[in-house]
């Protein structure tokens, strides 16, 4: 019953995102171009390395990883920070705050519809194409189920992180710089642009202790790992769960404090 008030936002989100057909088409083309660049770049890297396996990954492995990372990015990136920044700048946030629902939830559920459309329109087709073209390289079994669980947690972590950064806009009232910085940091440290295997050892250790790798690296590793090492699977999911809870609490706390600050001092 109370779930209905959230699901109605999901429904609205799906309908809204379906209104913009052209935008979706343009995005698909943009991705295609990006993937072509990725293909040639890594081809060159592998050619100059002179071996077939670099850092334990073959050219095909790397490519599959990066293509899926891009697909995952397109489906998870909700531009939350932009949206919050814009709402804060235009003052529309006042209207959202006056909905009988917590803002953080309201915004999440408003985005949830887009998650679903993006999943079916960008991630799933990409995945099917990759799976088909590379026949058999991606294991199709229980790992798909674990992958879904992992993605849901990744979405929550990513959203909480975005929300945290978006909250900063309450103070700065400008979004551009902060958002660009966040995007670069997340994409690099999460293993979305370069597989974590390629980073030097010390940096890898640091990255392991940061929440970013739980967003892209974790679900992709689960999806692509052939060996069903349950120990490792549990560690990965456990770490994700940990960051999920921590980031949720952190973003909630920061938002509460900031909002109090704003209601006291005015925006």
């Amino acid at each position: 019953m109370s779930l209905k008030k959230y699901l109605t936002l999901t429904r609205a989100g799906i309908m809204e995102s379906l209104q913009f057909r052209l935008a979706t088409a343009v995005m698909v083309i943009g991705n295609l171009l990006y993937l072509i660049i990725v293909y040639y770049l890594w081809k060159a890297i592998y050619a100059s390395a002179g071996t077939d396996v670099v850092n334990g990954m073959t050219f095909t492995d790397t490519l599959i990883y990066l293509v899926l990372a891009t697909a995952l990015f397109n489906f998870m990136e909700m531009y939350t920070v932009w949206e919050m920044g814009r709402n804060i700048q235009t003052g529309k946030i006042v209207l959202d705050l006056l909905k009988p629902m917590e803002y953080q939830r309201y915004l999440f559920w408003s985005f949830s519809g887009t998650f679903i459309t993006q999943f079916f329109f960008t991630f799933l087709p990409t995945f099917l194409v990759v799976a088909f073209v590379t026949q058999g390289t991606i294991p199709l079994g229980l790992n798909l189920l674990y992958f879904m669980i992992s993605v849901v947690m990744a979405i929550v972590i990513n959203y909480s992180m975005d929300f945290l950064v978006g909250t900063i806009c309450l103070y700065t009232e400008s979004i551009w710089g902060i958002n660009i910085m966040k995007q670069v940091v997340v994409l690099l440290l999460s293993g979305a642009t370069i597989p974590i295997a390629f980073f030097p050892e010390p940096l890898k250790t640091v990255m392991f202790y940061l929440p970013f790798q739980s967003i892209y690296h974790a679900p992709l590793t689960i999806l692509l790992s052939r060996a069903s090492d349950s120990q490792q699977l549990l560690t990965t999911l456990g770490t994700q769960l940990f960051w999920c809870v921590v980031m949720m609490l952190l973003s909630k706390l920061f938002w509460k404090l900031s909002l109090r600050q704003i209601t006291v001092n005015g925006g």
Partner: protein
């Protein structure tokens, strides 16, 4: 009758950074701790009953929006007490939200890409409106305005007037106890203004909803409110019924005319003719402040036309600014 809104000695202060001039000043500002306190709302008390329609007036920057934001719970008062429908709004913002509806003139709370009916459905679920109540409300809306052509139109394709109308309907949808309307008729043409006024009036009558109307259009207040509250520079200037204010002001209108020849000299002779009214003139036009209780504007115009060739004329209603100026000069209450 119970108090819907109770404000006691509410004050709101903002901390504002003292900005310095020039590039050097801007650099210094980065590290500045030099704040000044701005008092946006200063010791305001108000008591509003259920079903009342109150016009909340004031020039730009008078503190109207700040007051509304405190009533809705978006801002917390620096001192003083506010109770809205028995809740302290800033402490229970989410709960308070269930009881209030809001329309901010230029912004829409509706789903921009979707048809109006979808926005209504979403609001129905968010506010958890029971089916029957929702259907009754739609039936009421149908009886008041012709909404069917609007229902299936996406918000982004609507005209400003249609959008405002839709926003007002959306704000009343969950049958809130209080609706805040912030400049609802801003930027609308005359016929749309009157349509919206009729709608607000009917909803207030039908649902006994308390309505707080912020505006600087005296026409809105005149058409809708029995009671008006005027604030300026954060301070309450006037809080009484409309009739009282009217009896104090009479019914003044400003007649502006442009004539051939030297207008300043003409103004002097006109002044002698109509000694009861104040006549002023500049390079552009002659302004005559006519009290319609004494003589009709049309008679004044006819009288002047006998002697002078009028090229252009304009009639102005008395504005909020005029009212406030007059209150300052002469005092009411």
């Amino acid at each position: 009758m119970s108090a819907m809104i109770e404000m006691k000695n509410v004050t709101k202060e903002f901390k504002v950074l003292n900005r310095r001039e020039g590039l050097k000043g801007s650099l210094k500002d980065l590290f500045s701790r030099d704040y000044k306190i701005v008092r946006a709302v200063d010791d305001i008390s108000m008591h509003i009953e259920q079903g009342e329609m109150v016009g909340y007036l004031g020039p730009n920057g008078a503190g109207k929006s700040t007051t509304i934001k405190m009533m809705t719970g978006v801002l917390e008062p620096t001192s003083g007490e506010i109770l809205v429908g028995g809740n302290v709004p800033y402490q229970n913002r989410t709960k308070n939200a269930q009881e209030i509806g809001v329309v901010f003139g230029q912004r829409s709370q509706l789903w921009w890409a979707l048809p109006l009916i979808e926005s209504f459905r979403i609001l129905k679920d968010i506010y958890q409106i029971p089916n029957e109540k929702y259907e009754n409300m739609l039936a009421l809306y149908r009886s008041l305005v012709d909404i069917d052509p609007l229902l299936h139109k996406p918000i982004r394709q609507m005209s400003l007037g249609q959008r405002t109308l839709s926003d007002i309907l959306a704000a009343f949808l969950h049958d809130p106890k209080i609706v805040f309307l912030d400049e609802p008729t801003i930027g609308l043409d005359v016929s749309m203004k009157s349509k919206i006024r009729t709608l607000i009036h009917a909803l207030n009558q039908e649902k006994k909803t308390t309505v707080i109307l912020t505006t600087h259009d005296m026409g809105d207040v005149d058409a809708l409110c029995q009671r008006i509250v005027i604030i300026d520079k954060g301070k309450m200037l006037y809080d009484n019924d409309m009739a009282h204010l009217k009896s104090f002001f009479g019914s003044y209108r400003t007649l502006k005319i442009r004539t051939d020849g030297a207008m300043k000299q003409q103004a002097q002779t006109i002044q002698q003719e109509f000694s009861a009214f104040s006549v002023t003139a500049d390079e552009e036009r002659i302004s005559i402040l006519v009290d319609e209780d004494q003589s009709k504007v049309i008679d004044v115009l006819a009288q002047i036309q006998k002697t002078y060739a009028i090229r252009d004329m304009q009639l102005e209603e008395i504005s909020t600014e005029n009212v406030i100026q007059k209150i300052y000069e002469e005092g009411v209450q």
